[in-house]
């Protein structure tokens, strides 16, 4: 699975959980500042990403994923 595939999959999850259009979910965006996603939605996104990509994203790691790019890189490293 390429980084583009992870980004696209993450976009679908963010759209479903937070109602943000998937196309707006780009690597440079900050989850909180740009996409207006709060900590509970981040947990929901993490839970769905775990299912979709077969990774573990514990709460302490989740706290470090500030941008969409951080999340893609984390999934790429840990999948």
């Amino acid at each position: 699975m390429s980084n583009e595939d992870i980004l696209a999959g993450l976009g679908e999850i963010v759209e479903e959980v937070a109602g943000v259009t998937a196309a707006d979910v780009t690597a440079d965006k900050s989850f909180t500042d740009d996409l207006d996603i709060d900590s509970l939605s981040m947990v929901e996104i993490a839970v769905q990403a775990e299912d979709k990509f077969g990774v573990k994203i514990p709460d302490d790691e989740l706290a470090n994923l500030k941008t969409v790019g951080d999340a893609v890189a984390y999934i790429e490293r840990n999948k």
Binding site: E16, D38, S39, L40, V43, E44, A46, E50
Partner: protein, 325 residues
């Protein structure tokens, strides 16, 4: 030769014959809470989905609210108190450590000499108590069981704890369970996560606390599979579920569970209990209050297939399928 122990002839099934609920008079809005703590309506609505909740009066108790709900359930079922042979109350906020709640409810309602005990499985309590009632009936030990979920959570909430004081409310719900020729209550899917015993609990001072993010993660990931297990155990196709009645923990948890169930095969037009919006989180009372209010509103109808799942402190969970009375 030693004596042989026999069991009673098995009964084919049990059913819910009637339901009732009681919500205290006093409505507490988010604006009311904002007068005494640093919070606001918009924050509460977006984080937990609650607009208002009910607080019990000083002289209202877990037993008194439970008896009011139980009396309504008996009337709804057309069952008189003398027909009830067992009372089971789910609560985690019992008025006393001793005696248990069910005996006071029985005394209040004029139920004579029933089998009587409480269940503490926190917010999963109603589903555990319903399972206990179903099993008591199917084994022939009981014929008619009054199942109550009743909580006075406000007694255990630090009023200055803005994380928890906004969530909880008081109230009671009840169901009358009777023997049936065909099962209308499915097997229970129950279990727990013994690695998270302290994720929700009370402090040394007696106040309820929870590790919000850990509980949210658990509830949004582990509970939909429990509901799916419950449907499978009952041999019910998810597409046949008419009503989802989860514990009313947090609207975002409820909707996340519903999304997962819909992606697993539940119809998108399934009717979902969202009673938390106007009742708050009433722990073991939330499933019967929510479902009975859906019945009142015509959103849940007699014969509907209901998928119920409770989850909470323990962490513990239970779910089952049953027919709406």
């Amino acid at each position: 030769m030693t004596a042989v122990i026999h069991t009673l002839p098995a009964v084919p099934g049990s059913r819910i014959a009637g339901m009732g609920h009681y919500r205290p008079e006093r409505v507490v809005t988010n604006d009311d809470l904002a007068k005494t703590m640093d919070t606001n309506d918009e924050w509460i609505r977006t984080r937990v989905g609650i607009a208002e909740r009910r607080f019990a009066a000083a002289d209202e108790t877990v037993a008194s609210m439970g008896a009011l709900a139980g009396g309504k359930a008996l009337a709804d079922a057309g069952i008189t108190p003398d027909q009830v042979d067992t009372v089971i109350t789910a609560t985690c906020t019992a008025d006393f450590q001793i005696p248990h709640t069910s005996t006071t409810i029985a005394a209040t309602l004029g139920i004579h000499a029933p089998g009587s005990f409480d269940v503490n499985a926190a917010c999963a309590g109603f589903c555990y108590a319903l399972a206990a009632a179903d099993q008591a009936i199917r084994t022939g030990n009981s014929r008619t069981v009054l199942v109550v979920g009743s909580e006075k959570l406000t007694r255990w909430i630090n009023p200055t704890d803005r994380g928890n004081a906004i969530i909880f409310g008081d109230g009671a719900g009840a169901a009358v369970v009777t023997a049936a020729d065909r099962p209308e209550i499915g097997p229970v899917a129950w279990g727990s996560d013994e690695t998270q015993t302290r994720a929700i609990g009370t402090t040394d001072a007696g106040w309820i606390y929870q590790e919000g993010q850990a509980v949210f993660r658990w509830a949004t990931s582990a509970i939909a599979p429990v509901a799916i297990r419950a449907a499978a155990a009952a041999g019910v196709d998810l597409a046949d579920i008419d009503v989802i009645a989860t514990h009313q923990a947090n609207l975002r948890i409820i909707e996340a569970i519903a999304r997962k169930l819909i992606s697993a095969g539940v119809r998108p037009d399934v009717r979902l209990s969202r009673d938390i919006v106007t009742t708050g989180n009433t722990s073991s009372a939330s499933i019967p209050i929510g479902l009975d209010r859906m019945r009142e509103a015509g959103e849940a109808r007699s014969g509907d297939l209901v998928l119920a799942v409770g989850f909470g402190a323990g962490l513990t969970f239970a779910g089952q399928v049953f027919r709406c009375p």
